[in-house]
């Protein structure tokens, strides 16, 4: 205990120093006093005048300096948060697959977000929100973005879309790659890298923006008697991604050694659960940008509601999946808890601004239950999804889109079903066709030997954790 007196000495000294005249505390107090007595000087007044003049000079744009500025700020921050979801996906997928494929999974994730942003600039954005339609309400050709600040009024979309063109673009661009990323986890550990790159490029550059235009680009789903409603994309993004994954995996097949003869199954364990948990927390965090940013402004009523419904559905999804797995499987399964969070998030995405917090809890509750059954179901029918993304994004995406018709009188069940079927069906068909073409041409799968050795070795010649021995290297 002989160290304690040192502590006392150090602290006393510090105290004296801190409270002595000229000390920070003293200065602090003096400054506070000075502030209280402060009268604006001429300089201050001059500065104030100058500032006001500056604002006036902005003249034509001056009106923008309030709601618009704040909304635009939120849009770009939300874009950043959606970007971070890609780290969430990368770590979740890496954690839930095997060590020998970790480099490959990460590589694909870096590729997807990068190619997603680029192709969205090149053609996606203008296909997603067609200036004019080539096929009315169905297809408008894309062209590269130009100077999106050209709208000199800045009042890009009015109060409902209070952001500059670049703000709109970058937020949507971060969204675009999400669908392809969902597929990435499902086909992991056996798809050929180059084929996957082509697959996801087509998905993100063409299929996603074309389908998106039907809803968000004022296409036919927006023209239904009661327009289809999908706030931030339970169907348009998640359902789309989940069913594209389903299509791809049907052609691709299961990982070697998972489904054994005689109906037996040998689970293939994810190699790093902490990494997977990091991914889910980051996805939840990023989802505040995904849903919150989809308010498309900083409108405070909606913003608060959307944050609340998003959080409550995710929380309930987690608890529901925990309990379901505990009851059903006798043990509280961490990977189910993690998938439950995501199920709740996907579920609430369609109606985050259209239902109240307790409806959100209900949506999350059911999503968290469904997801456990769905994961077990897909395994039963030998559809091998290492990360559970078909269940999370596909199944819960459908659930979330359809259920809101029961909670909000302005939403039509029929329209919701039409929209959901459209997105999921289209994604499924595109994925199947694309996968078949790739299978016939480049080949879709690595060889059995490559799969056994791991894609990190066969595709990249690299290891994720190469150190052997603590201090050999």
């Amino acid at each position: 205990m002989k160290h304690w007196y040192k502590l006392v000495l150090i602290m006393s000294g510090a105290f004296i120093l801190a409270t002595a005249p000229g000390s920070p505390a003293q200065l602090q107090a003096e400054e506070a006093e000075a502030a209280a007595e402060y009268e604006p000087t001429e300089d201050d007044l001059a500065f104030k005048a100058e500032y006001e003049e500056m604002v006036a000079e902005h003249g034509f744009h001056a009106y923008a300096f309030d709601f618009f500025v704040t909304s635009m700020l939120w849009t770009v921050i939300a874009a950043g948060l959606v970007f971070l979801m890609h780290l969430g996906f990368a770590t979740l997928e890496t954690g839930l697959t095997r060590q020998k494929n970790a480099v490959n999974v990460l590589f694909k994730n870096v590729f997807i977000i990068s190619i997603g942003i680029l192709t969205y600039g090149l053609i996606g954005f203008n296909m997603h929100y067609p200036g004019e339609w080539q096929i009315p309400y169905v297809f408008g050709i894309g062209s590269p973005i130009g100077d999106l600040n050209q709208d000199f009024t800045l009042g890009y979309g009015g109060i409902g879309l209070a952001m500059t063109g670049y703000g709109d673009f970058i937020f949507q661009a971060m969204f675009a790659a999400t669908a392809a990323t969902i597929v990435s986890g499902v086909v992991a550990e056996r798809i050929k890298l180059s084929s996957f790159m082509v697959f996801s490029l087509v998905l993100v550059a063409f299929a996603y923006p074309i389908a998106g235009s039907w809803h968000w680009g004022e296409g036919f789903l927006a023209e239904l008697a009661v327009p289809f409603y999908d706030f931030a994309g339970s169907s348009a993004v998640h359902g789309f991604g989940g069913f594209a994954a389903l299509g791809a995996v049907l052609i691709l097949g299961a990982r070697r050694g998972k489904y054994l003869s005689g109906g037996r199954m040998k689970p293939i364990l994810g190699h790093n659960i902490p990494l997977a948990a990091v991914g889910v927390f980051l996805l939840w965090f990023g989802w505040f940008g995904f849903n919150g940013g989809s308010v498309l402004s900083a409108e405070p009523k909606d913003l608060g509601l959307v944050f609340t419904t998003t959080a409550m559905s995710a929380a309930m999804g987690a608890i529901a999946a925990m309990l379901t797995s505990w009851i059903l499987l006798k043990k509280p399964d961490i990977t189910m808890a993690l998938n439950g969070v995501l199920a709740g998030l996907v579920g609430i995405t369609a109606g985050a601004d259209a239902v109240g917090p307790w409806a959100a809890v209900f949506i999350g509750l059911v999503a968290g239950i469904i997801v456990v059954f769905a994961i077990i179901f897909f395994d039963k029918v030998k559809i091998d999804d290492p990360v559970g993304a078909i269940s999370v994004h596909g199944v819960c995406g459908v659930w979330g889109t359809v259920v809101i018709a029961f909670f909000n009188p302005d939403i039509s069940l029929v329209s919701q079903v039409i929209g959901t079927v459209t997105f999921c069906g289209f994604a499924f068909v595109v994925a199947v066709v694309l996968a078949l073409i790739l299978k016939a041409t480049m080949g879709l799968r690595v060889t059995e030997e490559e799969e056994d050795e791991g894609l990190d070795y066969s595709e990249h010649g690299q290891e994720a954790y190469p150190d052997f021995g603590k201090v050999t290297g």
């Binding site: 689970p267 499987l329 006798k330 043990k331 990977t335 456990v372 395994d379």
Partner: protein
């Protein structure tokens, strides 16, 4: 000299080490292994699928000792590692023909 290879439950390592130290044994080498044996049938779950974990975490302790203390050593390990439950592990005794201490080039019993 003999090589005593003991495969034990991981959390028994500390006790085994202490039992050996008490015998005056100053060296051993430990490896992390997975064991397959009678102790099986225990099932785990992963994402809803039950599966049997065949390979359980074990620790392999390798100890080289002079012939005369082999049985004492084996007994000490048995005593320290036993829980009485299935899966406690095995001990194998192998012949050693030579032992060398790298640092000093000493050979034989003096090297271990």
């Amino acid at each position: 000299m003999k090589l005593i290879k003991a495969i034990i439950k991981p959390f028994k390592l500390e006790e085994v080490k202490e039992a050996l130290s008490e015998l005056g044994i100053e060296g051993m080498t430990v490896t992390e292994v997975k064991g397959f044996g009678r102790q099986k049938g225990h099932t785990e779950i992963y994402r809803g699928s039950e599966y049997t974990v065949d390979f359980l975490p074990k620790v392999m302790v390798e100890i080289v000792v002079a012939d005369d203390i082999v049985s004492k050593t084996v007994e000490a390990v048995v005593k320290a590692a036993k829980t009485g439950k299935i899966g406690d592990g095995k001990i194998f005794v192998l012949p050693i023909e030579e032992a060398i201490r790298i640092r000093t080039d000493e050979r034989g019993d003096g090297a271990v």
